[in-house]
Symmetry: C2
Subunit: 542 residues, 2 copies
């Protein structure tokens, strides 16, 4: 189309970098008195919240933070964590959230690798931070929240108060929507963490993706059960500003805390791993019924169908989701079909056990052969690797061009997850690529075996890995943690027999080890470690 | 931030052009059986709708339509109009919607100026199209819907059926999100219409803006009371696919038709000029009560507060909105504040009479001096011109670089509308720049005078313009159309006296002319014509 428009199409009048920072400016302008943050005794309106973010930005600039610098935070889900999500980027800097469950060595590694010049830390993690800083190879200016100044750290509130209450125009705005916004270190089960670079465009678009996936109307009340150091709280740290919601912060929680928050603050939405839902279920008998439907996104681990059913019966609307740090968090969700209302409970459980379809902002998704990139048939049986492309892809891994090139080889992001595609186009994750068990030429999904084990009421947690076997190549071995009341009442043979009632015999665990199942700092089960433990303790060479 | 990422950030794996065409592909993949279109006896699922769009695209490509070509449509709100919104762009072409209320000369002008190579026309407008084509200076291939082939035109269904059912990958996708998507001719009240170029990015973002502004959940049922030839139905022609809604088409309608559609199809949302709401009110006594809340966006003309109140009492949630063709449609809406629930009816009426705040996707908006671009104070009194910038701005005017440069002068789009900003940041349109009346040095908003006239039950329609006056420079003159029952029962003096009870004396009409108020093809009142008429019939030189 020869537009014959002498001026080029990209002008200030018709283009601006997409950035979630816009959401805060608008929320403040339109709803300055609406509650933005409830954090213990603190109550911030959107006006106050935005002002504090601007002051934090100005204080960071005054402290020498320049465009593109990294500022690390070691914080639980508190008001300063929410302020950091806007204040750091409004200084032009990149927010690097650090998992509070990491050890000092890992934190020191991230501080060094990210070259963070400032660390904002909660007083609760003072000891951890001091230890990490002593291991870190470079000087880091430390700001501590919730405790006042200390010899080794400045007081956060005093630091913010030292900032000027500047106008939005005086912030350091991104020059391009592809500018870096956040740096999130993945906690693989092996090796050093990799720093995933988020861009303003991806976070902006995924905010809309999440809002639409949740059918989130204006002014939701969002409970922070999901750590914000996971993909910036699946982008909800920013998205809530787009819908002018209310953040309910939680430093720590259990099932009772969640029920109390729902009743006290009118919580409408929360997110979390399936473990969070089991907390809710365990506390449900002590709680009054839900006053209104509460929407939940759950992902990050196997969502047992029994958990989904019981939550649904209590009035929660639980949506199964699938995400990955490299994709700005959640990019697939199990959108409900109206005709599923009429399905049998068994069919409903089967349908919602699937991860689903791409969010509306995620254009490219396929399940394909890992080598040839040929898509698998949508038969619900053929396993392939999940590949994604489109606007939710990270910029790349920080200072690791080789890993970036590998991850993006062939023009697609390689998730490393294995899945099938059902005839209705819905994706179902079968396993991590490296957790798949190949036994006598048959593929066994460790997740399927775990799901079978979980149907036994005595199983609190099950983790299945491959055990080398001279005959079959590999066989499934299960680590099983029993509930208190079943301790000592269940044998290996009992549980294998139970599995045989559920799944094909060749898929059933050949061995079961009753022991506590370990978790990484991000709550993942370290399958790599378990495979080593299995080889050591149960393998043919033991 | 030196990312040390050897690969550039924009790769297929992490970027794709933003385009509303994605919405259709996803809707089809995820919800192929969900009802997409109800058009008389026709019922199309999302699967069928998407397939027909792809076939239309392929048929257009086979007909020689190439990337950037224009395809014009002269259609009411029917299924083919919805198919054109995806099928034409999926051929890489630009959809040029033509107002069905234009005369043959204006249509011929648009066909010539847009250089449209194909015209899709509804059989209802066969005569009009034939006349326009005879006036047009270039050959146009004509495809007619709803009537079978004719000597001068091909049959639309046969044309679509001639297309191949190709895969989404085989469509002509935009190379850049700034590629042209639509060409919408504005119907100014003077001069030739100007062709406003929409880009994929703007339509994509405004779709989300509209959905969020409406708090639209998944699967809305949308009634087409708003013509799709107005800003592509305020972008809802595309946005409905993002939320997998159901389009209810209407070839023509009155109040009863709207009520019937609400009850029969479960309509949840519709849009329209305030006139549409008066139709609904007039038919309300014959209708059963609303079965559920129905959301309405209304804009494009003065929304009388009485209309808003009565609609609200009936259970409609009416949101006042403000848009302009050059901004991809609506970009400002009067978002409700929860504390307005407690306001008096008078205060509520005053609050919702305002146009409001920018949509979340529209970053830049100001009311400022037309010459200096200095923002006016937010005092609810100082009038300035509305300026906008950000991602909703058009590419420019087709083949009119001078007009584009004027419209974007100073880095802002000049709307030509006059407004005040209230202390809460909400915008209130006072008038079109050229419709403002300056009397004895005082500014008079013709809209304010019209609102005062509208409070009289006998006034069906009022239009106020400036009349040259030797003493005052200008004075307000009103053209007033009376309701049937008040014909002959109201004098000029009565109505001026009524106004004096509402607004300052100097603002009251000096003269009132009882006559039908003319409308342009887009339903706007041609103030320019009325000013000329006033000068001719009532001016000092008459």
């Amino acid at each position: 189309m020869d537009t014959n428009v002498a001026v080029p199409p990209r002008l200030p009048a018709n283009s601006a970098p997409l950035t979630p920072l816009d959401f805060l400016i608008r929320a403040e302008a339109a709803f300055p008195e609406h509650p933005a943050i409830i954090d213990g005794d603190h109550r911030f309106t959107w006006g106050t919240y935005a002002r504090r973010c601007r002051m934090l930005a100005k204080a960071l600039t005054a402290a020498g933070i320049a465009r593109g610098d990294r500022v690390a935070v070691l914080l639980p889900n508190t008001a300063p964590m929410l302020e950091a999500h806007f204040g750091i980027p409004m200084a032009g800097a990149v927010i690097c959230t650090i998992n509070i469950r990491l050890n000092a060595q890992a934190i020191a590694y991230i501080l060094d690798h990210s070259e963070s010049r400032i660390l904002i830390v909660d007083d609760q993690f003072r000891g951890l931070a001091e230890q990490a800083l002593s291991l870190a190879g470079r000087p880091v200016r430390v700001i501590v929240t919730g405790a006042g100044a200390a010899p080794w750290a400045e007081d956060y509130d005093a630091f913010v108060d030292g900032g000027i209450d500047a106008r939005p125009d005086d912030m350091v705005w991104p020059e391009s929507e592809w500018d870096p916004l956040a740096l999130n270190y993945t906690s693989g089960t092996t090796g050093n963490p990799k720093g995933v670079i988020y861009h303003h465009r991806g976070a902006y678009l995924n905010s809309f993706g999440q809002i639409l996936s949740f059918s989130m109307a204006t002014h939701p009340v969002y409970l922070w059960t999901l750590p914000m150091f996971h993909c910036n709280g699946w982008c909800f740290a920013w998205a809530l500003a787009a819908v002018v919601g209310t953040h309910v912060c939680l430093r720590r929680f259990d099932g009772d805390v969640i029920w109390n928050a729902i009743h006290r603050f009118g919580v409408t939405h929360f997110c979390g791993a399936p473990t969070v839902l089991t907390f809710v279920l365990d506390a449900s008998e002590r709680a009054a019924p839900l006053p209104h439907p509460v929407n939940v996104m759950s992902g990050g681990a196997l969502l047992p169908s029994l958990v989904w059913r019981r939550m649904t019966e209590l009035g929660f609307k639980v949506q199964h989701v699938y995400g990955i740090t490299e994709m700005h968090g959640i990019f697939v969700s199990c959108a409900w079909h109206q005709d599923w209302d009429q399905a049998s409970p068994q069919d409903q459980a089967r349908l919602v056990a699937r991860q689903g379809i791409p969010l509306v902002v995620q254009s490219g998704l396929m399940v394909a052969d890992s080598e040839t990139l040929q898509p698998v048939p949508a038969d619900g049986r053929t396993v392939g690797e999940v590949f994604a492309r489109g606007n939710l892809g990270m910029t790349g891994y920080f200072k690791d061009p080789a890993a970036t090139a590998d991850a993006f080889a062939g023009g697609w992001y390689h998730t490393g997850d294995l899945a099938v595609v059902h005839p209705d186009g819905y994706l179902e994750i079968k396993d991590r690529l490296k957790d798949f068990i190949i036994s006598g030429g048959e593929n066994i999904s460790s997740i399927e075996v775990e799901e079978a084990l979980h149907t036994h009421p005595g199983v609190a947690c099950a983790a299945v890995v491959a055990l080398k076997d001279d005959t079959w190549g590999e066989v499934p071995l299960a680590f099983v943690e029993l509930t208190a009341e079943w301790q000592g009442r269940l044998t290996e043979a009992d549980l294998i027999a139970h599995c045989r009632g559920q799944i094909a015999h060749f898929k059933c665990p050949r061995r079961i080890v009753f022991s506590p199942v370990p978790r990484t700092a991000t709550g993942k089960i370290p399958k790599f470690e378990l495979r080593q433990k299995a080889a050591r303790e149960c393998g043919p060479d033991r």
